[in-house]
Symmetry: C2
Subunit: 161 residues, 2 copies
């Protein structure tokens, strides 16, 4: 089974911007509500489009399946069939041989910036950049699926820390 | 957009069995509950596997997207990520240049047999075989998605007509 092992963190300063290698605009939506055993995501990444299925378990290791699909079909699904959508710019940053993905959300999730790192094992050590804040890996509220259905800007002030 | 135009009927006798051209065992499951704008289906058809996304509207014409996926991945998703499953044998019958698909359900839906015909337009005429019963096209309860989550054998007797 394809497993994705990923840890996620808040980002606490803009210092990461100087380290960006490349950036990609992403628009994504979900074909399933919360409550199932999987999320089903449609994503436009620049000119590419992907259909992604990920186990709806909380934590760093999640079964994941991903398929390339025609961008025109992804646009139709985003416009007509998705029940939650979000837009973000993904910035890629290479540090110490590993790739950080810094997601800068826009529109209803504007103000939120998170950083993810994909690992080979859950306990793999990695260098923590100075701009890294608290870990969100176990916090389901910061799943993109949840953010698409419950945008960050609609959260109570005290939860947006 | 890919549109599927399909009409569905109950089957009222076994007379269709003499007309079968070929049959295929199918096992399918759903990655999303009801209530969204789309159903997301994983299906094993013999040795092939497909991921299918269909608009959750009632009626004969529904937007549909289908992708081939590796059978091993489909099996994993069926075992681990689907929230409703069903098994059936699909029998193909050619009549008057059109293909009828007669679905003979097994396990929790055993006893139910339905026939579907795919058309080029909603009002396309077609020959009605003698074994065709009442039309189910507008009856959401007979959607495979619904049957997977609410098997026919669990329905009240008076609804299983």
């Amino acid at each position: 089974m394809a497993m994705e092992i990923e840890r996620k963190f808040r980002v606490v300063s803009d210092a990461w911007r100087a380290q960006v290698n490349r950036s990609l605009a992403m628009r994504q939506g979900y074909l399933a509500g919360e409550g199932g055993k999987a999320s089903v995501r449609v994503r436009l990444e620049g000119e590419d489009a992907k259909l992604n299925i990920k186990a709806a378990v909380v934590g760093a290791a999640r079964a994941e399946y991903e398929y390339d699909i025609p961008a025109a079909q992804a646009r139709e699904m985003l416009d007509n069939l998705c029940i939650g959508r979000l837009e973000k710019t993904r910035h890629y940053i290479e540090i110490d041989g590993l790739t950080w993905e810094v997601d800068e959300f826009i529109n209803d999730n504007a103000g939120l910036v998170v950083a993810e790192i994909e690992l080979d094992s859950i306990d793999q050590p990695f260098e923590r950049p100075a701009w890294l804040g608290r870990e969100l890996t176990e916090d389901r509220r910061y799943y993109n699926h949840h953010l698409a259905l419950h945008p960050w800007r609609t959260w109570p002030d005290e939860d947006r820390h």
